[in-house]
Structure formats: structure tokens, C-alpha cells
Symmetry: C2
Subunit: 312 residues, 2 copies
DNA sequence: ACCTCCATGTAGGCAACCTACATGCTTAAC
DNA sequence: GTTAAGCATGTAGGTTGCCTACATGGAGGT
């Protein structure tokens, strides 16, 4: 039973095809195919079977793929204990993040890590909630979010840590009749024209909750994914929308008004594969993110912040 | 961080010298020395340092040796889960045992395993209590004993399972004046000539307890290790001795009389390294041993057993 | 019917691990 | 003080085994 084989099975489970694994590990599919066959010969069990165009793991392959998590985590823990003896945590940590949360968290993180030996590699992507988990194959830490629970869909087997619970506010243009309200109910907003996101995307759940609470469909003027796009569309008077409170820059051209009556918060969560999570540098970065998140939650932007950020 | 290197460090910790590890793994010391150097280069830490004639692990080496236990145990667990899918536990299980307990337990074990696919390889050795633990490097299961606690000295990091609590009786010749007694106290026996074991050996603890309870030294006629030798010396009238109840064959030429007033039992324990203990076949064998031990403790030999065994 | 994607097979290069043998150091024995 | 034994280390060379390059064949999608 060799670790190389376990790792291969796990990667195959996570990435789906030999080609994808080959690309990720800088090898050719041929090499992996040969490894699979030697593993099968050594263990005396079939590990994969053809399935349409590609491969599927057999029950034995699944067992080994699951086992890989345990073994590689144990290995990472040893490395972590070793690193504790040699000094400060060091190395490169790859972070993948949803853009809005990244904008809110990453600058503060880099400030906190300035004195450390840790280097950050950043990637960002805007995905459906359930697709973030898969990115832990490529990144050490994935900053994801969940509209429903504290752990995103598909992240059940990953190490996860809540960084921040962020209210989702209603964004209205500065001069709008609702702009002066302290808070808004679904009844207040259901009749307005809406700038929404496509189904499955971040805040679609809340759009649905508003519709469920009022029994009326929203008037969807346009569907976009990018939060900055929502901002400018709302600014220009094309409708109202939903945006996360802490990761939306303050502005004089629109206002964020809290939404009550439906559950409208998201959990910003750091996800990591257990073996990555065991690395000392990764743990340090997660702690840094937790710190930044705590500060954001404690000191939401005030009016003075607003002036500073729009004028400065 | 490669498993091969972790394993090497662990073996080196357990066996002491490169030569011993080389012999156990069918390689040359040179190969191991090279492996050590590549591991050090790869990790950037010194793992061993010269110490008199041989080597000593550095703190980093100790960390890796400990880590090897975790990683190899995780690997064995994967193998065990895989085996559960393929059928009955199978393979060779190496048992090392102290002779007396082996005599009592192994025959019953082999009977129980007759229908299984498990093959047993047997080794036996008579050691001081604290030396049994080290034998788990060579055997999957070591049957050891402890006069003091339920886990033998030096076996703290091993998987252990109590098989049997066995009274240590006083053996007296058939015609002896104490032979008809139902039980004996330290006062009863302290004045007799004794066939004892050397210091550090199995029952020396009990000899010391008798001396402590009475305040008088024992009259040690002769010191021997082997229980069969004790038997025949007592038989021939050279003194009385101590022998374990279940592993001493019944006979008409001597009698075993319970000793009271001092703690006089030993725990027969199965020891295994965690990674070996995770193997399915090893677990099956341990369960078999527990069964045999339970039966022995439940049905100690009666008079009819005695006749059968001496006559049959 | 064509093209694409995926896995598999073969031949050969290259790196890594091991053996054989020689050397140097340390401790114990004579 | 010299010798011998035990242990680790270094060098050279052979073998194994992992990977790449390239070719083949099957399964879907257009």
C-alpha cells in the first residue's frame, strides 16, 4: 500500500478524469494509468472501471481515496510538529476566494502577515455555493460562503471555520424613496424593479425567500453576477438589489438598508482539505482571517468611515 | 516527507543501530545511511547525531519516529477497511510469547483458527517484564505479562489487551507438610527452602513481597528461569517455588496451593504496535486469544482434569 | 461522418535505490 | 598499547521502476 497510489485515487475522485489529475500534477495520463494498474496488481483488487468516456472508482477505489485523506493528514501533522521546532511558520499559502469576501478580508490579512515568512498566492472565482468545496484541491484555503448553514454545501468532509457572519442589505439609489428608511421588509421591496443574480448564484436564495414571504414574484429587470455591476446598475436607477454589507464599499450615490423579516445573512467560511489544514502556515493564515473577520463584524463602517472612503 | 524515511527513523529508534535495522529489513547499512542523508537534505534538519559507537536521534528524528507510528497506523487502517470488502481475514500473524502463557493459550488459539485463512508463526522468549515491549518490532502480537499493572513496563505506547489474570500459586512436593493446605500465607512459606528466579525475572516481584510482608529473607537454594525446571526441582524435594496456575500442567507429584496475604497474580497481556494492531488478521487473532483466556479463567483445572491430563 | 476527449499500450530515457567493497572512528579486550 | 570487533559512511556500478513521447482505440457530441 503506497501513499502515491492513495493520493492518485483521491485526486481522481476529486478531479474526475486522469487527464485533469495529470495536468494538476505535471504528468501524462499514461503515467497515471500505469500507476493504477500496478496498484491494482499489488492489492489484488480492481480500483477503477470504465464509465462512459472516463473512469469511475470501484468500492475499493473509494476506500483508498478516503484513506488517502487520513494518511496525508497524518503526514501533514508530522510536518507541522517538525516545523514547530524550527521556528516561525513559513512557506506559500494558496488562497482562493469569492471576490466580495476577498475584497473585505485579504487586505487586512496581508497587513497582519507583513512580519511573517508566509507568502500568499491569490486566486478568485465566483461560483455557486456548492462548487467552492472542489476548489480546495487547488488552493490551501478557500474562502467560501453559505446562505443556509455554517458549512457550505459539499464541504462536509473539509475543515471549515466561520470567519464572519455578514448581513445582506438592500442597496437603493441615494435619492430613492426607500433610501431614508432604517430597515426594509419583504413587503417594502417586493414591488420594486430588481437587479438580481442568476439562479444558483450567491444571493438567489434570498430573492426566493422574499418571494416566498410575500407570495409575489420579483420584477427582475436584469440578472448579473458581479457585485460591482450591481452597484453601478442600482446607482444609475435601474432598480434595487442585494449586496453584502461589509464587502460593499461605502458611497454617497447609494445606500445599504438592512432587510428584516427574512433570514438575510451569509456565513463567510474558510475551507481547507484536512491535510492542507494541518500545515502550520495554513493555520496561521486562517487565524489571521478569523482576526480580520472579527474586526469587520465588530466595527461596521460608520458615517465617518464613509466620508473617509469616498473622499480620500 | 516520505513514509520510507519515517519508517526508517522509527526502526532506528526501536532497534538502536543501523546494522540491526538493515538486518531486519534485508538491506545493507550503507543503504540506510544514504536514506538518512537524503531525508536530512530534503527536510533541512539534522535527524541523527553520532553517539559513541552508533547513532542517536535528534529531537527532529524523534518527532519523525513518533509520526511514523501515526502514519503507518493510518495506512494499516486503510488496508483493514479494504480487506473487509474482500472476505475473511487472511495472512500470516507472527506471535511472540513467554513460554508459560504460550503453552496455556496457543493450542486453544490454533483450534479456534482451524477454519480460518490465518497462518500463525510462533516465537517464544523468556524475558524481564520490561523487555517484551521491544519484541513488538519483530512480532505482530507479543504475549507478555505484568506483575504490577495491567500494562507491562515499557508498553505504554502500544495497543494492549488483557487476556487473563492468572494466580501465582505455591508449588510444593506431593508429600510435603504444606501440600494438604487449602491456602498459604507468607508466614507459612518464608521459612522453607526456595527455588527462585533471578532478580528482574517474572516472579521475583512476589518473592520480594513475601520478604517484605514477613521482614525475613527467603532461603534461596537455587535460581532458575525455566518453569519446567522449577517443577522438577520441587518434585525432587529441593524446595518450594512459585508457578502460574493455568500454565502449569497438573501432576500427582506436586501440588499448587494458592498464596494469600500478598498480591500474587499476573496479568497476561497481548501487546501490538498500533500499525500491526490495525490489521484485520491480527485483530481476529487477538479476539481468539481473549476467548481462550476467558475459558481458562472460567474453568480452572479440576481433579478430573488432573486425572485426564496425567493419565491420558 | 467527423472531431474531440479520454484511457491505454509500447519503447526508451533517466533518476533513484540498493549492493559490494573500502575507510575511519569508537570501545572493549588482551 | 596494540588488536579486534562493531558501527557508520563513502564511492562505484548495476538494476528497478517511474515517467515521457507517440500511437491506438473507444465513446460522445455536433
Amino acid at each position: 500500500m503506497e501513499v502515491r497510489h492513495l493520493e492518485l485515487l483521491r485526486d481522481l475522485r476529486d478531479r474526475g478524469t486522469l487527464g485533469a489529475v495529470a495536468a494538476a500534477t505535471y504528468r501524462t495520463p499514461s503515467a497515471l494509468s500505469q500507476q493504477l494498474r500496478t496498484a491494482e496488481k499489488e492489492l489484488g483488487v480492481k480500483l477503477v472501471e470504465p464509465a462512459s468516456r472516463g473512469l469511475r472508482l470501484t468500492w475499493a477505489g473509494e476506500i483508498l481515496a478516503d484513506g488517502a485523506d487520513d494518511v496525508l493528514t497524518a503526514l501533514s501533522r508530522v510536518q507541522a510538529r517538525l516545523d514547530e521546532g524550527t521556528g516561525m511558520p513559513a512557506g506559500t499559502v494558496r488562497i482562493g476566494t469569492l471576490p466580495s469576501a476577498g475584497a473585505a478580508l485579504i487586505p487586512g490579512l496581508l497587513t497582519r502577515l507583513r512580519e511573517s515568512l508566509i507568502r500568499i498566492e491569490l486566486d478568485d472565482f465566483d461560483l455557486a455555493e456548492s462548487d467552492y468545496a472542489a476548489r480546495t484541491a487547488d488552493a490551501d484555503i478557500v474562502i467560501a460562503h453559505s446562505l443556509i448553514a455554517d458549512v457550505p454545501l459539499g464541504a462536509e468532509h473539509l475543515a471549515s471555520r466561520v470567519l464572519l457572519r455578514e448581513p445582506i442589505d438592500v442597496i437603493v439609489p441615494a435619492g430613492h424613496r426607500l433610501a431614508s428608511r432604517a430597515e426594509l421588509t419583504p413587503q417594502d421591496v417586493v414591488g420594486e424593479p430588481w437587479v438580481t443574480v442568476p439562479r444558483g448564484y450567491p444571493f438567489a436564495t434570498i430573492h426566493e425567500r422574499i418571494e416566498a414571504a410575500t407570495g409575489r414574484p420579483l420584477d427582475r429587470v436584469v440578472e448579473v453576477r458581479d457585485n460591482r455591476l450591481v452597484e453601478s446598475l442600482v446607482e444609475q436607477g435601474h432598480g434595487i438589489g442585494l449586496l453584502p454589507r461589509y464587502s460593499t464599499p461605502a458611497s454617497v450615490t447609494y445606500r445599504l438598508v438592512p432587510l428584516t423579516g427574512v433570514q438575510a445573512t451569509r456565513a463567510i467560511v474558510a475551507l481547507a482539505r484536512p491535510d492542507h489544514a494541518a500545515r502550520r502556515a495554513v493555520q496561521a493564515v486562517v487565524e489571521g482571517l478569523v482576526d480580520v473577520g472579527r474586526d469587520l463584524g465588530r466595527a461596521p463602517r460608520s458615517e465617518s468611515n464613509l466620508k473617509a472612503s469616498t473622499l480620500g
